[in-house]
């Protein structure tokens, strides 16, 4: 593995590590970038959009745009992850703006692709929980969704989230605190409604 690929791998696995590398990247290193960042980018978009097909399309668009503008990336300005998630965030925002009239959220695909490593019962429980959590996440306001997705799907620090969103670090912390408490309330309400309906 080349030095640059090692650098990308290091920065992608240890999300808390500060990046200070002023070297330019070679396009061949982009595969390491893809391997390291695909799950996080995909999960972030999946959290935000809720649709598997849209998430795949947007993820492909993110990496295509990153590859096209790979030469313009300046490591001294921002870490690579922040740069990549800024692209992802812009694409998601554009998509959501275009699809604002769509209030539905197809989450049936989650049921159709359970985890292969789990037992069928666990897979059903997990997928059900995922479905409920993603549905509850969609009920949050846009900023809360964005910050929670950057935190748990993209696995970024509050500082990086602050850089990407333009908020202050302390503000990000407060938004996360409120959003998770609000998510818990929505999640509990959904479960109570489900039990009431079953009863």
């Amino acid at each position: 593995m080349s030095t640059k690929a090692e650098f990308i791998h290091r920065t992608s696995t240890s999300f808390l590590e500060e990046v200070d590398d002023t070297r330019l990247f070679d396009p061949r290193d982009f595969l390491a970038v893809y391997d390291a960042y695909f799950p996080r980018v995909y999960n972030y978009i999946r959290y935000r959009c809720g649709d598997m097909v849209v998430a795949e399309d947007l993820t492909a668009a993110v990496f295509e745009r990153a590859l096209n503008h790979f030469a313009t990336y300046r490591p001294e300005r921002a870490p690579f992850g922040a740069w990549l998630f800024t692209i992802a965030r812009n694409l998601v925002s554009n998509h959501l703006r275009a699809e604002r009239n769509h209030t539905w959220m197809p989450l049936d695909e989650v049921d159709s692709h359970p985890l292969p490593a789990l037992s069928p019962e666990d897979a059903v429980i997990q997928s059900q929980t995922e479905k409920e959590l993603l549905t509850a996440l969609a009920c949050l306001d846009e900023r809360g969704q964005d910050v929670l997705s950057l935190k748990f799907a993209a696995r970024l620090t509050n500082r990086r989230i602050a850089e990407i969103t333009g908020l202050s670090e302390s503000n990000v912390g407060v938004i996360l605190y409120r959003a998770i408490h609000h998510l818990r309330e929505i999640f509990d309400d959904q479960r109570n409604d489900g039990r009431t309906r079953e009863g």
């Binding site: 396009p27 935190k151 605190y177």
Partner: protein, 180 residues
């Protein structure tokens, strides 16, 4: 709730430190948290375990496409975008220098300002630049005078008498040469 949180920034910081632990894959300590915060942390832990990327079918296809494209990019020469304007400037400067010192430009309008041979090969350029050239150019550019037609009596005489030779240079009458 807002004012309550504004009064307790330490609580928010502690909560966020627990979230960092969760995101890094560790189990956060439950001690020191209020019950509602504990439930929120538990939910955050569950949220962090969601990995929808496993459901993606296009991951390998996309990887293959990116690999092809990245290898294409790396095979070709890589030019940094900032270098492109400088490279364009250098090319333009070389072209201008080539035109300015070109010894083969012979046309006066294309003559290079520093080309010494251009004056030798194109003497008209010297003529144009001389102070007398202005009148010369003006003379040349004036429309040519019409060619005078032969005198009518001569032509008519030849047609009236086809057998007689046509006087080419009719002599003026002797009266004109006689002195009074």
């Amino acid at each position: 709730m807002t004012s309550e949180m504004m009064d307790e920034p330490e609580k928010v910081d502690q909560f966020n430190r627990a979230l960092d632990q969760i995101v890094m894959g560790r189990v956060p300590p439950q001690a020191g948290f209020a019950p509602e915060d504990q439930r929120a942390i538990s939910l955050a832990h569950r949220l962090s375990q969601i990995d929808p990327s496993r459901e993606s079918f296009t991951r390998e296809n996309l990887r293959r496409q990116i690999a092809q494209r990245a290898s294409r990019l790396s095979r070709g020469r890589y030019y940094h975008p900032k270098l492109i304007p400088w490279a364009a400037l250098v090319v333009i400067a070389v072209l201008i220098a080539g035109w300015a010192f070109n010894p083969m430009s012979s046309h006066p309008t294309m003559a290079a300002p520093f080309s010494a041979t251009a004056y030798v090969l194109a003497p008209s350029a010297v003529t144009v630049n001389s102070p007398h050239a202005a009148s010369a150019v003006q003379t040349q550019t004036m429309p040519p005078k019409p060619i005078p037609t032969p005198a009518a009596p001569v032509v008519s005489a030849s047609y009236e008498n086809p057998g007689s030779p046509i006087p080419v240079n009719p002599q003026p009458s002797s009266a004109s040469h006689t002195t009074p």
